[in-house]
């Protein structure tokens, strides 16, 4: 009996957590914090651009970043 109740409570908690969290509408004028440079995933944009450039130029990784490339390194 206790096990069933515990499972039921656990089930309700998990479902509530799944449904209760998540999406929030962010209006255009509320994006100040999202626009902060600290919010970017990569610390150094130039470094990422450079790394992506030479990695994309390798034949095997061609298109690996979502863009087709001929492997000539001239993109």
């Amino acid at each position: 009996m206790t096990i069933i109740t515990t499972r039921r409570v656990l089930f309700i908690v998990v479902i509530s957590a799944a449904l209760g969290s998540g999406c929030a509408t962010v209006e255009p004028w509320q994006r100040g914090r999202l626009a902060d440079p600290a919010m970017v995933f990569d610390a150094d944009g130039n470094q990422v651009a450079y790394t992506t450039h030479w990695q994309e130029a390798r034949e095997a990784s061609s298109g690996g970043y979502g863009v087709q490339s001929g492997g000539c390194g001239c993109k």
Partner: protein, 167 residues
């Protein structure tokens, strides 16, 4: 290019042009009446500007094109102000200090108002930053602009002149 492709290309071009340029409001609607905070803390009722051509611009310091448009709008204000034109630059920064730092570095003549809680952009239906709404003397929104590039300055001039010429 097939005929169907040509048509869809033309439709796409037309839509992109409409979206990027200042577009006449589909059907002129009455500008919402909003209350905004002035620099000295007093509240300003937007309806007090009725009878003038008013450009309401929503901007914030975290938005790069907003910062580019600010001096351009100030220039438009100085050009047309003698003819009854007003610019209400509504700052939407959550932190007033951010706006104050920017304003201190950019001398201006236009009226800057503050709405950190964002009630006024909601009332106007702002869809992107920056957004500006050109309101005629009767209080109707006649033209809207979303985003900013220097290319639209002439559009602003034409629209402002048109609205100023109306009785």
């Amino acid at each position: 290019m097939h005929r169907g492709q040509r048509i869809s290309f033309a439709v796409t071009v037309a839509l992109v042009t409409l979206a990027s340029a200042g577009s006449p409001a589909a059907s002129a609607r009455v500008a919402p009446n909003v209350f905004l905070q002035s620099a000295d803390g007093s509240m300003v009722d937007s309806s007090t500007y009725r009878g003038k051509v008013v450009l309401v611009d929503f901007w914030a310091t975290w938005c790069p094109p907003c910062k580019i448009s600010f001096p351009a709008l100030d220039s438009l204000y100085r050009e047309y102000q003698p003819r009854g034109f007003e610019v209400l630059a509504v700052n939407l920064d959550e932190e007033r200090r951010d706006a104050d730092l920017f304003l201190a570095a950019h001398p201006h003549h236009l009226t800057v108002l503050f709405d950190p809680l964002g009630a006024s952009p909601r009332a106007f239906g702002v869809k992107g930053m920056p957004s500006s709404f050109l309101i005629d003397k009767a209080g109707n929104i006649r033209f809207t602009h979303m985003g900013y590039s220097g290319n639209v300055d002439e559009n602003y001039r034409r629209e402002i002149a048109q609205l100023l010429a109306e009785r």
